[in-house]
Subunit: 137 residues, 6 copies
Amino acid sequence: MIYITRRERFNAAHRLFRQDYSDEKNYEVFGKCSNPNWHGHNYELFVTLKGEVNPETGFLVNLKTLSKLIREQVITKLDHKNINLEVDFMQGKLSSTENLAVGIWSELEQGVKLLNAELHCIKVSESENNFAEYFGN
Amino acid sequence: MIYITRRERFNAAHRLFRQDYSDEKNYEVFGKCSNPNWHGHNYELFVTLKGEVNPETGFLVNLKTLSKLIREQVITKLDHKNINLEVDFMQGKLSSTENLAVGIWSELEQGVKLLNAELHCIKVSESENNFAEYFGN
Amino acid sequence: MIYITRRERFNAAHRLFRQDYSDEKNYEVFGKCSNPNWHGHNYELFVTLKGEVNPETGFLVNLKTLSKLIREQVITKLDHKNINLEVDFMQGKLSSTENLAVGIWSELEQGVKLLNAELHCIKVSESENNFAEYFGN
Amino acid sequence: MIYITRRERFNAAHRLFRQDYSDEKNYEVFGKCSNPNWHGHNYELFVTLKGEVNPETGFLVNLKTLSKLIREQVITKLDHKNINLEVDFMQGKLSSTENLAVGIWSELEQGVKLLNAELHCIKVSESENNFAEYFGN
Amino acid sequence: MIYITRRERFNAAHRLFRQDYSDEKNYEVFGKCSNPNWHGHNYELFVTLKGEVNPETGFLVNLKTLSKLIREQVITKLDHKNINLEVDFMQGKLSSTENLAVGIWSELEQGVKLLNAELHCIKVSESENNFAEYFGN
Amino acid sequence: MIYITRRERFNAAHRLFRQDYSDEKNYEVFGKCSNPNWHGHNYELFVTLKGEVNPETGFLVNLKTLSKLIREQVITKLDHKNINLEVDFMQGKLSSTENLAVGIWSELEQGVKLLNAELHCIKVSESENNFAEYFGN
């Protein structure tokens, strides 16, 4: 069993807030992250797969293939977008780093299986000080 | 003559576009950076001062004092804000990294003089691959 | 189950030695880390929590709350301090990276529970080449 | 139980290809990594051990001892070498990051046991975007 | 006058040696970098331009345009290549970081002028510890 | 004219204070950096030389030779030391980053000349947020 990880990046705007909260309540709970005019981040996404090395290629999965999958399924939806307004798999969810990790897992799980590997971890880094990891359950 | 540099960080949303351009023209010139729903970055700001070391303290300027100046004059205006909509010194300007560097220079130049030092360089990094530097003229 | 990590930093002096060893023996076992005049590091501390996402906030724990806890319980005790002489939870222990990780775990375990999360990992990095991790048992 | 990690680095040339493939087939499977004239990387190697802290020293293993082991058993064989042509433990294997991680595990497993610790993970990073991890089975 | 920098990366094999030296002499002068079987690096290239901000766009040069120029003129020639054997602008030259910086300058100088900017600096980083910079004379 | 830079690292303890100040005055001026029990840092040192490329070697200076010079003249004096108590070239000086940069310049200037190059810049980084640069006058 081997684990491989591919890093991809996306730059996006977002806002943490609940529509059923007042502006004051949103500020109390989410602080400056609730700014109604949005803010944004350079997100880093680390996708880790696990499985057996293919003896024919020496790869678990060709990382170029994995990169292509991540870009098509996830990065094109997120990069230079507004996570709250424009990302289908985040609709109706708070755009926290935790929820982003869970949402990206769902977007990639099937595609990774078709590569004969298993999705092991989605890590989303929002800044040099903060990140979330999701292992699928 | 010694040079000292302090790094500060801010997370902000922005959009590159001209109101006198159509959406198509904006996309042609600015690409996905023109997204009307905004995107954002983790910006890094490097402020470099030059001057003589004060023999009493061994400092050009106490970096805590410099950090306080940068936070009060610049970071509070930019962090978790929308650069196009909310930042006074960027009003009427395209929110490019180049213009941010020039704008931040103007915000800091006087305050640095009061610290008995000279502003040497403003470097603004928008991503791990892109940055702009301004030396005051 | 989600995992979130907050990075905090502290700069401290320390020395690796045993009082029951001679200077020669200390040098033999701990090398230049036994220098009686101390040396120091920019330590990086990564605190990882696990638990369920709160559907009300999208957070496991608000990272600002976690940061405040780490600063109050750990960083104020370590930052710009001498680990051997001034840090209560390291008294009577060798100030190795391993022992620091275990000691910080004990300082944070109760506070994390009060945040409705579980402490998962304490990672202490002493340099770009060396780090220790502790998972609680 | 504590985990410690030492990072070491090596710069090496390699090529991904199979002798039983034509040049066209190699290019189809391995892309530009199959270049017959070789290419290369600055590899980063992270070696993680687990075990009990020695109460006499506060160490799981002295990281200088671990560094010496890694350099003698692995780095001297890989650094400034051609992985395909010159590295004994990679002979007859595709020089993928996955296979490197497995091969380095075998080189270090016995030596780590003699240090009274257990090898936990070999992580090999080929670039800032790609890495492989092996946990021994 | 503003300065902008774009980072691009390439992975390449090379060897430092002179054909008019014996193997022993090559080893004496170039050490393990003279290995006849090659070694390699993850190179980082930083290209800095200077000039006036275009008031129409807020850019000195659109960094996407600059990235495209660097990739077409330089990266496609170097990435996953053998610098000694395959890179036209390095033929007959020692493949040192210094010479790479000078060679890449020549490849980019004209193209940058056509973008209405001036090439200011080529920085080539061979490892986290070593880099060379060339300013054109 | 080419510029080359070598990075070296050292871990040291220090304290910012004046003997002619009271403890209170030292704390007022230098803050927690005046802690009488010391604190410490992982310092990074970047040494930049300038000069002509030697056509025989393609080098300005062999970076291994430069590394050896820096280690012998500077790093052995600073690494795992107390800068205030043990470093000859810092005696009688405040151990600020600014003074370290100037002091290291003096230690290296003659040795670099013997390598047929000119010392261009000493950059000392005390943390990821703070650094000083000295260009010799």
